[in-house]
């Protein structure tokens, strides 16, 4: 947060506002492996403000220069990066671009709604002037010949792209340990995972190394790391944002999503990248609404600002198998929504748990097709051979990591003659069932609620050798991709070891506006929580 925190530091107790139903007091302890001082951090200055709005206002009024903001972020990035390791590549032209924006402002030229805003981009989104590896050794040093449409739009909005972030290879994974390059640590606890596959993008925003970031979400890869890292994660409707330039994993499921430290920032970022693109045949021609003018100060809120909003809690998501701390944090969020005037009821989606194997069949099948282009011939690392099919086989064997190989093999199996009907076709049928059950539920409710993940962040290495245990953690998120719906994750509490917990709000197709409005009001009225990681509390 850029609002200067100069008040004396108070002792920290994360207590819920007195509420007879909740007895938990979360004690905020510092992780042992950081070098931070033992200073407690304030809870009063904890309301997330829109950093984008703050920066824009400052630079346009010349209160501060773009360069000054850029330098602050770069300093923090340099200090935290040896511990967090969010980035695979950092731009060398950030300060030059900042200076150019300042020059334009001096000349009274138009600078764009994201001018001065440092944005990090997940490394599976193509940037022509920086490597785009998708976290794989196969694409080491690959320079795409074009920018992804989302990147092009960011640049047109005046954003400064600060670098490319770490991810699970080709988007396959839920911890970012699947990267061929490095492991990213959770800024809240450096021994824990940031989540995945967009772990680098989530960690970079959590550690305030950048203002906002882009990720991708095929089965939860924006929403789960947002929950693990205590930041806001937004998955748009399938087709809302162009996929041109997003390295394809599963084409019927992939979307580009947004991270921010506030709902407003995630929403403003989304506004700048969405819209129809003729280069993506699956992109929607539906008009884009104005998402951003509803991010007003809470001074303007009515007393029960969400009165009349019908909220449905998915009953299958708060039962056995979900950590108690997650359940109580989400129930806390539900109470808060009720205080704001929502009508909350439970809704059952019986097909919920079947979505998980259906998702993995579809995703691995589609990925086996999408990754067949990596043959070492036209781009990427080539393993030399004197015969063509071993050139293919060896380049792929040397370039892909084990999880990617396994998923390609599983997908190949599910699509082969004799198995197609048993697996792939049935998974497609389950997709229909999931779509219909959501449609029905969203006919009776404005939004649906669930946790974003069954637990908070676990330790690095804990699930690395157990693929099924890792897949199981995606239960809360995959159905949303099967149905193509938009969803917003925002932090609502803490689990033990001071790891943040987020909850998920799911909306009807193209209803991002409602999600953002509800999320903004929720966030701006939530008292008693500070979602700034201790690692950087004294660096803001």
């Amino acid at each position: 947060m850029l609002s200067s925190v100069q008040n004396p530091r108070f002792l920290l107790h994360h207590c819920r506002r007195s509420n007879p139903l909740h007895h938990h007091h979360h004690h905020h302890r510092y992780p042992k492996s950081t070098h931070t001082t033992a200073l407690p951090h304030p809870i009063s200055a904890s309301l997330p403000t829109s950093q984008i709005q703050t920066i824009q206002k400052s630079i346009l009024s010349r209160e501060k220069t773009t360069r000054q903001f850029a330098e602050e972020f770069l300093t923090r990035l340099r200090l935290t990066e040896p511990h967090v390791k969010s980035f695979l590549h950092i731009s060398e032209t950030v300060l030059n671009e900042a200076d150019e924006i300042d020059r334009k402002i001096d000349r009274n030229e138009d600078v764009g709604p994201l001018a001065g805003v440092l944005v990090a981009v997940k490394d599976n989104i193509c940037t022509a002037d920086m490597p785009s590896t998708a976290g794989s050794k196969l694409l080491e040093n690959y320079r795409p010949p074009f920018d992804a449409t989302a990147v092009k739009k960011l640049k047109e909005s005046g954003a400064i792209i600060v670098g490319k972030t770490n991810l699970d290879e080709f988007g396959m994974g839920s911890t970012t340990e699947g990267s061929a390059y490095q492991v990213t640590a959770n800024p809240w606890n450096l021994e824990s995972v940031p989540g995945g596959s967009s772990g680098g993008s989530a960690a970079a925003v959590a550690a305030r190394q950048c203002v906002v970031s882009l990720g991708s979400d095929t089965g939860g890869s924006v929403r789960q790391p947002a929950s693990f890292c205590g930041v806001v994660g937004l998955k748009p409707t399938y087709g809302r944002v162009s996929r041109y330039g997003l390295v394809a994993y599963a084409s019927s499921l992939d979307v580009i999503g947004c991270f921010g430290s506030s709902v407003a920032d995630a929403g403003i970022l989304l506004q700048s990248i969405c819209g129809h693109d003729k280069l993506d045949a699956t992109s929607s021609t539906r008009e884009v609404n104005d998402y951003t003018s509803q991010f007003v100060s809470k001074d303007y809120f009515e007393s029960q600002p969400l009165k009349g909003l019908r909220v449905g809690v998915i009953s299958e998501t708060l039962g056995d198998g979900v950590d108690q701390e997650v359940v109580s944090s989400v129930r806390g969020a539900i109470s808060h929504l009720e205080e704001l005037g929502c009508t909350v009821t439970e809704v059952s989606l019986p097909s919920f748990s079947l979505g998980l194997p259906a998702y993995y069949v579809l995703a691995s099948s589609e990925s086996s097709s999408n990754l067949s282009r990596y043959d070492g011939v036209r781009y990427g690392n080539q393993t030399v051979s004197d015969e063509l099919s071993s050139l293919y086989g060896d380049s792929r064997a040397n370039g892909f990591g084990p999880e990617v190989k396994r998923r390609i093999l599983m997908g190949t199996y599910a699509l082969s003659a004799g198995y197609y009907d048993a697996y792939y076709k049935r998974a497609q049928q389950v997709r229909t069932v999931v779509q219909k059950s959501f449609k029905e539920a969203l006919g009776l409710h404005d939004i649906l609620i669930s946790p974003a993940a069954p637990s908070a962040a676990y330790k690095i290495g804990e699930k690395k050798n157990d693929p099924l245990a890792m897949y199981a953690g995606d239960i809360m998120t995959v159905n949303v991709n099967l149905a193509g719906l938009p969803a917003l994750v925002l932090p609502c509490g803490f689990a033990k070891d001071s790891l943040p917990v987020g909850f998920q709000m799911i909306g009807a197709t193209f209803d991002e506006e409602k999600l953002l409005r509800v999320g903004h009001i929720f966030e701006q009225t939530l008292q008693g929580y500070n979602f700034i990681p201790p690692l950087i509390a004294d660096k803001i």
Binding site: P145, D280, T282, D375, R406, T412, S437, A472
Partner: protein
Amino acid sequence: MGSRALLVLSPAFKSDHVLLNHFTKYGFRHRTFRQTERTRRVGVREYAVHSSLERPDVACLAETARISLTPQEAEEFAPKIQQVVDWFGQLQVVDLQSVEPAIRPDTEAGSFREDNPETFDNREAIIAAIPSYEEPYIKVPKVLNKD
């Protein structure tokens, strides 16, 4: 159609609800209660094995997928892949009769652009990325016909 599908599914999903109930932090544990399924114990996990389909032949799949797996990798991957494929078996015990398969989310069909060729403006970068290039050819080794 939707609500009918849900009704048809509810007896099947009763056991799926039990599935979710058997989540633990340490892994995915489930059992189905159908008497026609054989169950096989693998360590602490129990999976229903669908008996009519052959197990995945990892070496054969690797050849189809054009990935040169080492024998060690094939050995290491086989049980993990088997585990996941067994887990996929849940899809077979569900009644999905007369449910249409959905190939993508129902958020709107996309749109096609005009089928007009355009010259790409950065051929140099495409060529620069080619590992083995000899103007104007992309070089590859010979193709050996295998029997």
